[in-house]
């Protein structure tokens, strides 16, 4: 049982603000993801949860209890580090049983838990090998198994699969999700890969410079980003963000090449269009904004097209392998309901009758 929460936690290292007034609650048994660019405070938050650091301001709570002064060992949280930290002089089996031996768990139980974890992670056949003899993927799974056998209140994982091959990453993240479900424990996960975060998280928090910008399910954040920063972070290719100005009943962007019916909002400074929301058709002089195709990237399942409209570059993502050539003249259209509008400081503008984010 572990509900983990922060109440207005701030942490400084010298003059650098690592965590800026962070507040959140991770529910019991939730797969929660912290996502953000490097140096945005993700690893610091993990260290605060684990107890390796103390907050300068605010409280860290586990199951409703303030644990600021409690030692890491007493908090009963298992962590998988980014560099795995496997003991090179022990076999995989030795590594995995180490935390249990340390805690004086009876031998029979150790064997049972180890066998169970090894089976879940498909590493039973390599338990006798040393870390130096294992591949990157195998080492990763041994590190995860070591955390798994501890049966802690919660798991923390700091970017555990970024060192793996792309293909292996895709497979391992599904495995991790399955394991978390089966283990029934809270898992707090840090990553800078947006596809990974959206795939595994029940809920996620987006970080910028140590501050939490938005918390929600991946779908909520993707469909309703709180700021332009958040909107740009999720989705590949990135959302196209263009400066926009209101002119009477329409909104104009990309040097007047894009015209949209003005929504019921004030203070529009820019608008955002997701590449997959853009429709491209041959230019016939009718509806749509005129654009020229600059580049075509055929990726098999979909095609990314870079376009230029009114001097601005945009990217559109089209399904399959449409027949589009470079320098073709095309018409750009977009469903008005899928356009995001942002204000001066990048915050998303919403009609007054709708609620805020999350």
């Amino acid at each position: 049982m572990a509900e983990i929460a922060f109440r207005h936690v701030t942490k400084r290292y010298g003059r650098t603000l690592a965590v800026d007034d962070a507040s959140f609650t991770v529910a019991d048994n939730e797969f929660f993801c912290f996502f953000g660019p490097p140096l945005s405070g993700k690893s610091t938050i993990l260290r605060l949860i684990l107890g390796l650091e103390k907050p300068d301001v605010g409280e860290v709570l586990i199951d409703g209890r303030v644990v600021n002064a409690v030692s890491p060992a007493a908090r009963n949280i298992a962590m998988v580090f980014q560099n795995l930290a496997l003991f090179p002089h022990m076999t995989a089996a030795g590594n995995i049983r180490f935390p249990l031996v340390e805690r004086g768990v009876p031998e029979l139980q150790i064997r049972a838990r180890m066998a169970d974890a090894a089976e879940k992670l498909h590493i039973t056949h390599i338990l006798h090998k040393f870390p130096g003899q294992l591949s990157g993927g195998e080492r990763q799974r041994v590190a995860i198994a070591r955390a798994l056998v501890r049966d802690p209140a919660a798991y923390l994982m700091d970017d555990p699969i970024s060192a793996l091959d792309a293909r292996l990453r895709e497979e391992t993240r599904v495995e991790l999700k399955r394991i978390q479900r089966e283990a029934g424990r809270t898992l707090i996960y840090v990553t800078h890969d947006q596809e990974e975060a959206m795939s595994v998280a029940d809920r996620m928090a987006i970080l910028e410079h140590g501050a939490i910008r938005q918390i929600g399910t991946p779908s909520q954040i993707y469909d309703h980003p709180a700021t332009a920063y958040v909107a740009r972070f999720l989705g590949s290719p990135m959302m196209n963000i263009l400066t926009a100005t209101r002119q009477g009943y329409s909104v104009s962007a990309a040097g007047a090449a894009i015209q949209l019916a003005a929504p019921d909002l004030t203070g529009i400074a820019s608008l955002g269009l997701r590449p997959e929301d853009l429709r491209v058709s041959p230019w016939a002089g009718g509806t749509g904004s005129p654009a020229t195709v600059i580049e075509v990237e055929p990726l098999g399942g979909h095609t990314v097209v870079t376009l230029e409209a009114g001097g601005t570059r945009l990217r559109a993502m089209l399904r399959g392998q449409p027949d589009i050539r470079v320098s073709a003249q095309v018409a750009l259209t977009c469903d008005p309901a899928r356009v995001h509008y942002f204000g001066d400081s990048g915050e998303t503008l919403r009609p007054s009758h709708q609620g805020g984010s999350e």
Partner: protein
């Protein structure tokens, strides 16, 4: 002049054969990606092209010139290491001008060429900064500029984006591609990320365990993989591969997929391929190339997991060897536990010989 040809290339390290008989031709000015999982021999191949390793057998030719015996420093190739190998005890300017200075070029020429490269790569403001401590994005450009200033005919890049955070990778892919367009040099690029290869390369050479699997344009490899390995490796997710037996039914030729049932009737091209099978086949279709159909038609598979990733939703269907994935836009309305009824686009089906793994073609 700067075309590369690898003939019968073999590389052994003691008892271990890292590369088995590789034949490859890279055209002048082409961007060729060497793609494959860790340990497939792609880095070994590139090291041999650069001259850092000597082939155990076979030869490497630049244009018509056999490179046997030509030392590493004499080959005129540019090389970008995975960790960039920037001279961190020197300034950016000293890094960029290193090759020219060691080659004894006159001071005026060194200054002019260094300045030109710096402008091209937008490093002009950073020239006199120490190279240590700069961001990865800048280091990549310094690494490229350091080689590019020598105006090599051939550029080799060894997984240069693998140390870069996922968030920046897309940005840097675009930069690299633009640079290649500008310099128009022959580029050989090693990677394990199929998305990188598909985005950037003119042609891709797919490798596995020291053997070249297939060479072709990105879409060729995607649409017509030569074997099971390529089918699985290219595409995100990879191609669905289900074991089955060709069967003639009253409705037409199908593939019997065991517990899943019969596949939809095969189109003529696929039927011709099925007829060439000598036994069991593998029925392949891409996750992006399926459509939902009413119950009773197509294949029925239970949904085990739903992955929603931004613009797409990946349905995980079935389990283990009978498993498959399907990719949809987000309005699919299926949840774990329910039954999905799917039919792949007939023209997109690919059949493979179950024993050899080689693709079956009608003609």
């Amino acid at each position: 002049m700067s075309a590369i040809r690898l003939e019968n290339l073999v590389k052994r390290f003691g008892a271990f054969t890292a590369l088995k008989t590789m034949d490859l031709a890279v055209d002048d000015g082409e961007f060729m990606a060497l793609l494959g999982p860790s340990g497939c021999g792609k880095s070994t191949t590139m090291n041999m092209i650069a001259g850092m390793e000597r082939p155990s057998e076979g030869r490497i030719l630049f244009g018509d010139r056999d490179m046997a015996g030509v030392a590493m420093g004499q080959r005129g190739v540019g090389f970008v290491f995975q960790n960039y190998a920037i001279f961190t005890h020197m300034s950016v300017r000293q890094n960029l001008s290193y090759g020219l200075r060691m080659g004894g070029r006159p001071k005026a020429e060194v200054a002019q060429r260094t300045g030109a490269i710096a402008d091209l790569l937008q490093l002009g403001d950073l020239l006199d900064r120490p190279a240590a401590g700069l961001s990865v994005n800048i280091l990549q450009r310094v690494a490229i500029g350091r080689s590019a200033v020598m105006e090599p005919a051939i550029f080799l890049l060894d997984e240069p984006l693998s140390n870069v955070d996922a968030a920046f990778r897309a940005v840097m892919r675009t930069e690299l591609k633009q640079l290649q367009r500008q310099f128009r040099q022959t580029m050989v690029y090693v990677t394990h990320d199929q998305l990188e290869a598909m985005t950037m390369a003119d042609r891709i050479a797919v490798m596995d365990h020291g053997v070249l699997q297939q060479v072709g344009r990105p879409l060729e490899i995607y649409n017509d993989p030569a074997n099971l390995f390529v089918a699985r490796f290219i595409g995100s997710p990879g191609m669905n591969l289900l074991a089955g037996l060709p069967l003639e039914t009253a409705a037409g030729p199908v593939v019997d997929l065991g517990a899943i049932g019969h596949s939809p009737v095969l189109a003529p091209a696929q039927a011709a391929a099925a007829r060439r099978a000598r036994g069991a086949v593998v029925y392949g279709f891409r996750p992006e190339q399926v459509a939902t159909v009413p119950p009773g038609h197509g294949m029925a598979m239970p949904v085990s997991f739903v992955e929603r990733i931004g613009a797409r939703t990946i349905l995980h269907l079935g389990h283990g060897a009978q498993g498959a994935k399907a990719v949809f836009e987000n309005d699919v309305g299926l949840s774990p536990g329910s039954m999905a009824h799917l039919a792949p686009i007939p023209a997109a089906i690919r059949l493979f010989d179950a024993e050899t793994g080689v693709a079956l073609r009608g003609t």
